[in-house]
C-alpha cells in the first residue's frame, strides 16, 4: 500500500514528462500531440557529423567539471567538518553562498574579470606577465568555472556524511598501525563512497544538461557541447518551432547514462550495513588538530572563497552600480549610480516577482523534502516490494532537460483544464520544480539514511512503537539535519532557476529570475546584475539561517 501510494505520486510527477520525452523523440515534428511516428530524430541527433565532436567535448567538460567540484568539495568538507581550522562556521556559509549566484551572471562576471582582451585580472597582471593569464572562453576556463559553481552542491552531499562518521572506525585503523593517509583512503573514503557517488552522478548529469556556462563562455568561441546543441535546436531552427524531437532524442542518451549510473549506485549500496556509522552508541566526530598549520589552511580556505565567491560577487556588485558594463577604472568611478537598485524597489513587477519567487521556493522545497524523504526511507530503510521502481522513478527527472519538463506540464495542465487550473500560475512552476528537484532530495536524504544503523529502529519497534512513531521519534531526528539541507538546497535552486520558469511564464506568474533574464536579454545587463545581487542577498540570508538552525538541532549522539 505505501509503495502504491508513493508510486502513484511519483508516477504523476515523473511519468508525464518521461512520456512526453519518449513520444516527442518519435514524432516527426517533435510535438507529442502531432501525428506520425519516426526514428528520424534519432538518426538526425546521432547521425549528425558533428555529434562525435560534441560528445567528446561534452565528456571532457562534464568529467573535468565533476572532478573539480567533487574533489574540491571533499577537501573542503574534510577541513570544515573534521579539523579545528578557525572560522569553520563562517567558511561553511561562504562555501555555500555561490549556490545563490545565477550561473548566467557568474559567467558574465568571469567574462568581465578574465576575458583576454580587457579582463580586470589580466589587466592587473599585464605589467608582470606576457599575454593574458586567464581566458574563460576556453575549455579549461569553462571546466574550472562550472566546477567551482557546483562545489556547494557536492559539499552539501558529502559534508553530512563526514560529520556522521563514528570515530571508532578511524581509531581502530590507527590502532592497527595505519597512518593518516591510509586511514583516510582505506577507512573514511569507503564509508562515504555512496555520498561521493551521489555527488559524482548528480554533477556529471548536470554538466551534460546545464547550458548557462557553456552558452555564455563556450558559444562565443565556438566550443560546443550537447547543451549548446540543445539550445540551437530549441531556438535557432529556421522551421520556426523548437526541434523537440531531436532534443528528446539527445536527452535519451542522458537517461540511459543515468539509469546505468543508478544501477551501479544501487549495487554499490546494496550491502547498506557497510556504510552504517550512526548507531545506538553516542559519539563525537574525531576532530584532527592542525596545530600551527591551521592558519595556513585557513589562508587556503580564504583563497578558495576569494576565487569562488568574492571575485565574481565583487564584479557583479560593481556591474550593478553602473549604467552599462565597463571595467573598473578611475574614469568609470564617475559612472557609479544606485539607479539600478532604487529602480527595482519602485517596480511593481519586481516586488510581485519576489513574492512569487518566495512562494514557489518555500512550497517546492517543502514538498520535495517530504516526498524525497519518504522515497529515501522506503528505498533505504524498508523491504517493501517495488522500491527499486520507486528509486528509478525518483531519479529519472535528473536526465530530463528542464524545457522538456515544461513541455510536458503545459500539455498536462491544459488537458486538465478547470479540474486543476494552474496553467499560467505560479503553481505550475511549483509542479515543474517538484519534478526537477525530486532526484536531489531523494538522494541527499538517502545518503544520510544509509549511515543510520537499523538497530535504532529495531529498538523502537521492540519497545512497542508503530512504524510511523519509530520514523517520527527515532529516524527523523537523526536525519533532520540532512532534510534541512535538502530543503535549503531546493529553495536556493528554486530561487535561481531559469529555464523551467521561462518555459512556463504566463501573464502574471513572473519570478525574480525571469525578470533577471528579461533585463539581460533586453540589453540591460547591469540591471540584471542588480537583481542578481538582491537574489544573492535573499538566498544567503536563507543559508545563514539554516546554518544557525543546524547548529541548534545537530545531534552527534543518538538518544
Amino acid at each position: 500500500m505505501p509503495t502504491l501510494a508513493l508510486g502513484a505520486i511519483l508516477a504523476y510527477l515523473v511519468v508525464a514528462p518521461l512520456a512526453a520525452l519518449i513520444i516527442s523523440s518519435l514524432r516527426p515534428t517533435g510535438f507529442p500531440l502531432d501525428d506520425g511516428w519516426t526514428l528520424g530524430n534519432y538518426a538526425k541527433a546521432y547521425g549528425n557529423v558533428e555529434f562525435l565532436s560534441l560528445l567528446s567535448n561534452t565528456v571532457v567538460f562534464a568529467v573535468g567539471a565533476t572532478a573539480v567540484a567533487v574533489s574540491t568539495a571533499l577537501l573542503l568538507a574534510w577541513v570544515l567538518e573534521r579539523t579545528d581550522v578557525p572560522g569553520r562556521v563562517l567558511f561553511r556559509i561562504m562555501v555555500l553562498i555561490p549556490i545563490a549566484i545565477p550561473p548566467l551572471l557568474l559567467a558574465l562576471g568571469w567574462a568581465l574579470l578574465g576575458n583576454p582582451r580587457n579582463g580586470l585580472i589580466n589587466q592587473m597582471l599585464r605589467p608582470f606577465i606576457d599575454g593574458p593569464l586567464l581566458n574563460p572562453y576556453t575549455m579549461t576556463g569553462m571546466i574550472l568555472i562550472q566546477g567551482l559553481s557546483l562545489v556547494p552542491t557536492a559539499f552539501l552531499i558529502i559534508a553530512p556524511t563526514l560529520r556522521n562518521l563514528d570515530p571508532s572506525l578511524e581509531e581502530a585503523a590507527r590502532t592497527c598501525g595505519a597512518g593518516f593517509l591510509k586511514t583516510v583512503t582505506r577507512t573514511v573514503l569507503p564509508m562515504i563512497a555512496p555520498a561521493l557517488a551521489t555527488a559524482g552522478i548528480i554533477i556529471l548529469i548536470a554538466c551534460f544538461v546545464l547550458f548557462d556556462i557553456p552558452g555564455a563562455l563556450g558559444m562565443p568561441s565556438r566550443i560546443y557541447v550537447l547543451s549548446t546543441r540543445v539550445f540551437y535546436l530549441m531556438n535557432n531552427s529556421p522551421t520556426g518551432a523548437p526541434l523537440y524531437g531531436e532534443v528528446s532524442a539527445l536527452a535519451m542518451l542522458f537517461l540511459v547514462m543515468l539509469l546505468a549510473m543508478g544501477w551501479a549506485y544501487r549495487r554499490m549500496t546494496a550491502q547498506s550495513r557497510r556504510f552504517v556509522t550512526v548507531t545506538g552508541k553516542a559519539f563525537r566526530p574525531r576532530m584532527y588538530r592542525l596545530g600551527p598549520w591551521k592558519w595556513a589552511v585557513a589562508g587556503l580556505l580564504g583563497l578558495y572563497v576569494l576565487v569562488a565567491l568574492l571575485l565574481p560577487l565583487g564584479v557583479l556588485a560593481w556591474m550593478s552600480l553602473l549604467p552599462y558594463p565597463t571595467a573598473p577604472t578611475m574614469d568609470s568611478l564617475s559612472l557609479l549610480t544606485l539607479e539600478n537598485h532604487a529602480g527595482l524597489f519602485e517596480s511593481d513587477a519586481f516586488v510581485g516577482s519576489v513574492g512569487n519567487s518566495l512562494t514557489v521556493a518555500v512550497v517546492a522545497a517543502t514538498l520535495v523534502t517530504i516526498i524525497g524523504g519518504l522515497v529515501s526511507w522506503m528505498v533505504v530503510r524498508s523491504r517493501l516490494p517495488g522500491r527499486a521502481v520507486i528509486d528509478n522513478l525518483a531519479f529519472i527527472p535528473l536526465a530530463i532537460p528542464g524545457v522538456m519538463i515544461g513541455v510536458a506540464l503545459i500539455y498536462v495542465y491544459l488537458a486538465l483544464g478547470s479540474a486543476v487550473p494552474i496553467y499560467g500560475t505560479i503553481w505550475i512552476i511549483v509542479a515543474g520544480y517538484l519534478t526537477q528537484y525530486l532526484p536531489y532530495g531523494a538522494r541527499l536524504a538517502g545518503n544520510v539514511m544509509l549511515q543510520v544503523h537499523n538497530e535504532l529502529e529495531e529498538a523502537g519497534r521492540t519497545s512497542g512503537g508503530s512504524p510511523a512513531k519509530v520514523m517520527l521519534r527515532i529516524t527523523l531526528p537523526i536525519v533532520l539535519p540532512a532534510l534541512l539541507g535538502v530543503w535549503v538546497w531546493v529553495a536556493s535552486h528554486s530561487l535561481r532557476e531559469l529555464s523551467t520558469a521561462l518555459m512556463l511564464q504566463g501573464y502574471d506568474n513572473s519570478v525574480v529570475t525571469t525578470l533577471l533574464w528579461d533585463a539581460w536579454a533586453g540589453g540591460d545587463v547591469t540591471r540584471s546584475a542588480a537583481i542578481g545581487i538582491w537574489l544573492i542577498v535573499g538566498t544567503s540570508s536563507l543559508l545563514l539561517l539554516w546554518q544557525l538552525v543546524s547548529r541548534l538541532t545537530t545531534r552527534t549522539a543518538t538518544n
Binding site: 500531440l33 580587457n118 531556438n235 529556421p238 518551432a241 523548437p242 549604467p323 491544459l414 528579461d518 540589453g523
Partner: protein
C-alpha cells in the same frame, strides 16, 4: 552614420513615445468606422492577450496609447522568450485546448510555422483600412522590422576609422575584436541583394576574423560597451538600452540594409479575435507604428513618419520576401551551420 546623426536617431526614438501620444490617427473615415465597430466587439470579449518578444515594462506606453485610442478595450502583453518559443507555445496551447494569444508579433519563421499548421486566421485587412503593401498575406500584417547595422565602441574606435560597409569588417585590424549574432538572419537577408554565392564567400572570410558569437545582439552590444569588442554586426534596436544610458556605442547604417520584417497575426485559438484584429490594424497606422517604434526601437519601413522609414530612404533594403520562404529557410540553416563551424 556620424555620431551626431546617431545620437539624433537615439533621441528621436526615445521621443517617439511622446510624439505618438499627441499624434492623431490618419485613418480614413471608413477605416475609423470599421475599427470603432471592432473595438465595441473587442471590449465585450475581455482582455486582448498579445504575445511579443520585448520586455513588458517597455510596452507600457504603447499599451496606454492603444487603450486611450480605444477606451474600454484592455490589452495584456506576455513576453515571449525569443527564438522559436512563441510558435511552440501557441501550438501547444491550441492543441491542448487552452487559452492562447489573441494576437502575436514575430518574424517569418514563427509566422510560417503557424501558417503551415493552419493555425492562423485569414482577415480582410483592406476592410480594416490596412494598405495592401502591409498585408502580404491574408494571415499577417507587417508592423515593423529589425534592421542589421554595423556597431562600434566609439571610445576604442574613432568615427573616421569605423567600418562603413560589411566588406570593411574584413579589415585585419578587427581580427578577434568582432561580435556577431549566432543566428544568421542578417546574412540571410543580405543574400537577397548580394546573391547567395557572394554572401557565402563573405561569411567564410568573416569567420577568418575570429568573431565572437552571441545568442542575441543585446549581450553583444553589452560586451562592446565594456570594451571587450571593438566592432560588430547586429540589430540596431539592440544598441538603444546602452546608448540611452550613455554607453560608448555608435552605429553605421550600411547600404544595402539587411532587415527582418516583424509581422502581427491572429491565432485561431484566441478568445478575442476581434481584439486581435483591432490591435493588428492599429499597429499599421502611423500612430501605432510610432508607438511601437517608441517602445521597441523597431520601426516600420513602410511608414515614412517613423525613424526606420527615414533611415531606409535612399538605401536598398535587403530581405527575402515571404513568398520565397522556403529559399529563406534553406539559406538561413546553411549560414547558421557555416557560422557555427
Amino acid at each position: 552614420m556620424s555620431m551626431k546623426s546617431f545620437m539624433t536617431y537615439a533621441v528621436t526614438v526615445a521621443a517617439l513615445s511622446s510624439m505618438a501620444m499627441g499624434t492623431m490617427a490618419t485613418a480614413s473615415t471608413a477605416r475609423a468606422d470599421s475599427l470603432a465597430d471592432l473595438a465595441k466587439k473587442a471590449a465585450a470579449a475581455g482582455p486582448i492577450l498579445w504575445y511579443e518578444s520585448s520586455p513588458t515594462e517597455e510596452m507600457k506606453p504603447l499599451i496606454k496609447k492603444f487603450q486611450e485610442r480605444f477606451p474600454g478595450v484592455e490589452l495584456q502583453h506576455v513576453r515571449d522568450t525569443g527564438g522559436n518559443a512563441m510558435a511552440a507555445r501557441i501550438i501547444q496551447e491550441t492543441q491542448g485546448g487552452g487559452r492562447t494569444a489573441d494576437v502575436a508579433s514575430n518574424g517569418p519563421p514563427i509566422l510560417m510555422q503557424l501558417a503551415k499548421r493552419d493555425m492562423l486566421m485569414n482577415v480582410d485587412w483592406s476592410a480594416l483600412g490596412v494598405a495592401k503593401e502591409m498585408a502580404p498575406e491574408p494571415y499577417a500584417v507587417s508592423i515593423a522590422a529589425s534592421a542589421y547595422v554595423i556597431i562600434y565602441n566609439n571610445k576604442a574606435v574613432k568615427e573616421a576609422e569605423a567600418p562603413k560597409t560589411f566588406e570593411a569588417l574584413l579589415d585585419p585590424r578587427w581580427k578577434g575584436r568582432i561580435g556577431l549574432w549566432n543566428r544568421s538572419e542578417s546574412e540571410t537577408s543580405l543574400s537577397a541583394v548580394w546573391g547567395e554565392e557572394k554572401t557565402t564567400a563573405y561569411i567564410e572570410k568573416l569567420k577568418q576574423q575570429n568573431p565572437m558569437l552571441f545568442p542575441s545582439s543585446f549581450p553583444m552590444v553589452q560586451s562592446m560597451a565594456s570594451g571587450e569588442l571593438a566592432v560588430g554586426w547586429g540589430a540596431a534596436h539592440a544598441t538603444l538600452p546602452t546608448v540611452r544610458k550613455g554607453g560608448p556605442i555608435s552605429l553605421v547604417i550600411p547600404n544595402p540594409i539587411p532587415v527582418t520584417t516583424i509581422y502581427t497575426f491572429i491565432p485561431k485559438g484566441g478568445k478575442n479575435p476581434d481584439g486581435g484584429k483591432l490591435f493588428a490594424a492599429w499597429l499599421t497606422t502611423t500612430e501605432g507604428a510610432l508607438a511601437y517604434e517608441g517602445a521597441t526601437g523597431r520601426g516600420n519601413l513602410r511608414v515614412p513618419e517613423t525613424n526606420y522609414g527615414k533611415m531606409a530612404a535612399g538605401k536598398e533594403v535587403a530581405e527575402i520576401p515571404l513568398s520565397r520562404y522556403d529559399e529563406y529557410a534553406r539559406i538561413y540553416e546553411a549560414y547558421n551551420a557555416l557560422l557555427a563551424k
